[in-house]
């Protein structure tokens, strides 16, 4: 893997040398832009999927639009050749900087290659659309002001497709549904992608009219948006931290085994991915699994202990606590139905019981059997199989088995 990772900067250097003769009248533009791409790659913009978007995209987004006033009219600063040189030099430079910083070489190689793909697609499509799509000119022959916008939308759209599809290829070992999950997750990065590339195009277009003042025009809105992304990201992290903390209250109260909530959540989200659930559904499963035993905090209430309670009561109380937050309505519903059997006698399957509830029922039972009752993983699986007439959905049990096998939980060596 190291060898493959090291090939990336070597390939970059080779391509850069091949492209080397600079077209531009002023080569400083090319070197400068490449340096900014390299340094910009060190700053990470937080995204939903965890993809590594960086402000380098702003520079590349501006390249095909950058133009200046010359005696003969307005002239583009970068040819396609120069732009490609900027991208190759910049990404190679960024590889050197980030390797020196100590980034993981595999992630680094994958990230640089994805960037190279999306940048190249943007530049090529832009070049092609520029020649293919010409909007009607004004009565005095002046160029149509909307033309650059149309070109940009085409090129950026194509580049985003490259970005999303390459996110799927990042994990080529996975099965189809996991590839699909990666792609769906990458689609959620559209906000960060749009902001970065549009800020670049904004700078390119405004530079033509007002020179370096364009920096203010592009930077102010982008900085606002960047701040919003960071704020949102921090809030997401805080929320996750808080849910993890609250999930442990029944544990410190002595109502469940220490670590039960975390282990069940980790197992349940893996099972959800194994069953082919999308990123949103997996998130719901994870949250609900984390909070599934929260109804037990009511168990230090003397009245409740005196009157007795059932699993259904516990599930309902838990769902009432969580359901107080309207954003968690779905999670609350999953928690409310977690105790229900997946089918009743004579019925194929109860379609009303959400898949997430069925996953939690199985994973929670498995964790209680192994951590509390003291069964071995294989014995616990046997109980689950026995219970799969009504209680445990056999599909979920099968997925759990695959997950546990992958984790090596059974300690078995597979003979071939």
């Amino acid at each position: 893997m190291w060898a493959a990772a090291a090939l990336v900067p070597v390939a970059g250097a080779v391509v850069a040398v091949a492209l080397l003769p600079v077209d531009a009248a002023n080569p400083m533009w090319v070197w400068g832009a490449a340096a900014v791409v390299g340094v910009g790659s060190l700053i990470k913009v937080p995204t939903t999927s965890g993809s590594e978007f960086t402000p380098a995209a702003i520079v590349v987004g501006a390249l095909p639009l950058l133009a200046r006033q010359t005696p003969g009219g307005i002239e583009h600063i970068f040819t396609l050749h120069d732009s490609m040189l900027v991208v190759t030099l910049g990404l190679t430079f960024s590889w050197v900087l980030r390797a020196a910083r100590g980034d993981d070489p595999r992630r680094l190689a994958a990230g640089v290659l994805r960037r190279a793909a999306s940048f190249t697609v943007y530049l090529w499509v832009f070049d092609w659309v520029q020649r293919a799509v010409v909007l009607p000119t004004g009565p005095d022959g002046s160029p149509n002001g909307w033309e650059p916008f149309v070109h940009f939308v085409f090129a950026a759209g194509a580049s985003f497709m490259a970005e999303v599809l390459s996110a799927g290829f990042d994990q080529t070992l996975g099965s189809w549904h996991r590839w699909e999950g990666r792609v769906r997750l990458a689609l959620r990065d559209l906000n960060v992608f749009t902001a970065l590339w549009a800020a670049g195009a904004l700078f390119g277009l405004a530079y033509e009219a007002i020179g370096w003042w364009a920096l203010a025009v592009a930077a102010l809105p982008y900085l606002f948006t960047d701040g919003a992304f960071r704020r949102l990201h921090a809030a997401r992290r805080t929320y996750a931290q808080m849910m993890r903390a609250l999930a442990q209250i029944p544990e410190v109260g002595g109502h469940t085994q220490p670590g039960h909530a975390h282990r069940t959540a980790a197992l349940a989200s893996e099972v959800a991915v194994e069953l082919g659930l999308g990123p949103e559904e997996t998130e719901t499963v994870e949250l609900a699994a984390l909070m599934h035993a929260i109804g037990r905090v009511t168990l230090n209430e003397p009245n409740i202990l005196r009157m007795g309670y059932t699993d259904a009561d516990l599930a309902r109380w838990g769902s009432e606590i969580v359901g107080e937050a309207s954003a968690l309505a779905e999670v609350a519903e999953v928690i409310r139905r977690q105790h229900e059997p997946y089918r009743s006698p004579g019925e194929d399957r109860d379609p009303d019981v959400p898949i997430a509830s069925r996953i939690i029922k199985v994973c929670s039972a498995y964790d209680i059997a192994t951590a509390e009752t003291g069964f071995s993983p294989l014995e616990a699986m046997e109980r689950l199989h026995q219970g799969s007439v009504y209680d445990y959905d056999p599909d979920v049990v099968a997925a759990l088995r695959k997950v546990l096998e992958r984790r090596g939980a059974f300690g078995l060596v597979r003979s071939r």
Partner: protein
């Protein structure tokens, strides 16, 4: 004069001022490019609806930007010498359309839109005059020289500063005249608002220049960038709401079990805010107090059942066990980076520990309680004393204050107690039963025993 009458007078005065300004600036014909005007007006109206509260202090509203962009764009296009009245009118009319929120009109809330119309029209007209004065004589073709661009930036920022300063003064005065309260919008906010709007003005001015030099495509591009940030801000405030309501779910569970403590957390939060405002806490501190109040009793969820069953005050050993259980929850909550300062406040607010071993238990390792801890402790003890418990009756407000003052705990700072007493007097509220009910024969809890 009664408030509705004052409101009517202020509303109509502002409205008339707005209409007057429109009439004064009307040049006889519309005078500017109508499609462009409609485009900017649409952007302005949309942005006016979309202001989002980021937190207590910061409102992400950028509705001033389209007005200034339009002003600069029109001023650069017009080649009339001197101040072009049609530019000023175009800006004034645009600003006046902002407050026409359908929701307000449907509910027949007329005061707010009418006053806003007046105040925005006046602000925009003055901003228009400033812009015309700076760049009125400038006329550009395809490209701006550096000096021209500089003047455009100055025009935008000066226009925005005028707009927001005038607007601030008018809003503040309307509030003061109508409600007679001076503490609603402090003057200290003016600097921040005008500063951020001036920055927006630079952007708006330059944008106007780019638009008129035949590059309208910058408008959708800037909207792309802006809208993405805006959506994130909306998602962020939703998340914050979810965050808070999730915690509230836990608090509610806690309180529904015990009839006597129902609403306790909300009241403690309210009293902390009253004290905090009185002591001049800033937005961040007030926000912290709110969260600290919200979590100060969550630890009770982990209290062992035999302590929950106990009727009557706890003895020292039992109290220590109770604190151990709640500290386990405090430990959990302080794993959340955001909550750590609030957990510090909340875990140090329980007075029993303050006298004896404050500093060894809990998360604070200071030897004396912080002001925030004192505020929460006073709010907590005051509410506990003025509400009924299963084992005692509530005491009256004056007796509760007297008991708090008698207590020697360093948490019950006389300064904080005075602040609460004055704040309650100011809002005209009294808690607990009247004095004559508690004066004789009823055993009332002393401060240190009354917390819960």
């Amino acid at each position: 004069m009664r408030a509705p009458v004052r409101r009517f007078l202020v509303g109509s005065a502002y409205f008339l001022a707005g209409v007057g300004v429109l009439w004064l600036t009307y040049p006889g014909a519309f005078g500017v490019d109508l499609p462009l005007w409609l485009l900017f007006t649409a952007a302005y109206v949309v942005l006016s609806y979309q202001s989002v509260e980021v937190n207590d202090r910061l409102y992400a509203s950028s509705s001033v930007m389209p007005v200034l962009t339009a002003g600069v764009a029109f001023a650069l296009v017009s080649d009339r010498p001197g101040i072009d009245q049609s530019v000023v009118f175009a800006m004034t009319l645009m600003a006046a359309l902002g407050p026409l929120v359908p929701e307000d009109l449907r509910l027949r809330r007329l005061f707010q839109p009418a006053a806003n119309l007046g105040q925005l029209a006046v602000s925009a007209a003055l901003a228009g005059l400033v812009i015309e004065a700076v760049v009125g004589d400038l006329s550009v073709s395809m490209v701006l020289e550096t000096r021209e661009a500089f003047r455009v930036a100055v025009a935008g920022s000066a226009g925005a500063a005028t707009y927001s300063a005038v607007n601030f003064v008018l809003v503040r005065n309307a509030v003061v005249w109508t409600y007679g309260r001076r503490d609603l919008i402090p003057w200290s906010r003016m600097g921040m608002i005008v500063g951020s709007q001036t920055l927006m003005g630079v952007l708006g001015g330059l944008l106007g220049a780019v638009v008129v030099t035949a590059r309208p495509a910058v408008v959708p591009l800037i909207l792309f960038v802006y809208v993405m940030g805006h959506l994130s801000i909306i998602a962020y405030s939703r998340l914050r709401e979810a965050h808070e309501s999730t915690l509230r779910g836990f608090v509610k569970t806690l309180e529904t079990r015990d009839l006597y403590t129902r609403g306790h957390t909300e009241r403690v939060a309210y009293f902390s805010r009253l004290i905090g405002e009185r002591l001049g806490f800033n937005g961040t501190q007030l926000e912290q107090m709110r969260w600290a109040a919200l979590i100060h009793d969550v630890g009770k969820l982990a209290v062992p059942v035999e302590l929950m069953q106990k009727r009557g005050p706890l003895d020292d050993d039992e109290y220590r066990r109770l604190r151990t259980a709640t500290h386990l929850v405090d430990d959990l909550l302080s794993e959340v980076d955001f909550l750590r300062p609030m957990v510090d406040i909340a875990s140090g607010c329980h007075p029993r520990l303050a006298g004896e071993d404050f500093g060894q238990v809990g998360h604070t390792h200071t030897t004396s309680p912080s002001l925030e801890q004192k505020v929460l402790a006073v709010a907590d003890a005051f509410d506990a004393m003025t509400s009924n418990r299963s084992y005692r009756m509530a005491s009256s407000q004056s007796r509760a204050f007297a008991a708090l003052r008698r207590d020697t705990s360093p948490l019950f700072d006389p300064l904080v107690i005075d602040a609460l007493e004055q704040a309650l007097a100011e809002v005209g509220q009294t808690y607990g039963p009247p004095d004559y009910l508690t004066e004789v024969g009823v055993e009332t809890g002393e401060a240190a025993h009354a917390h819960d």
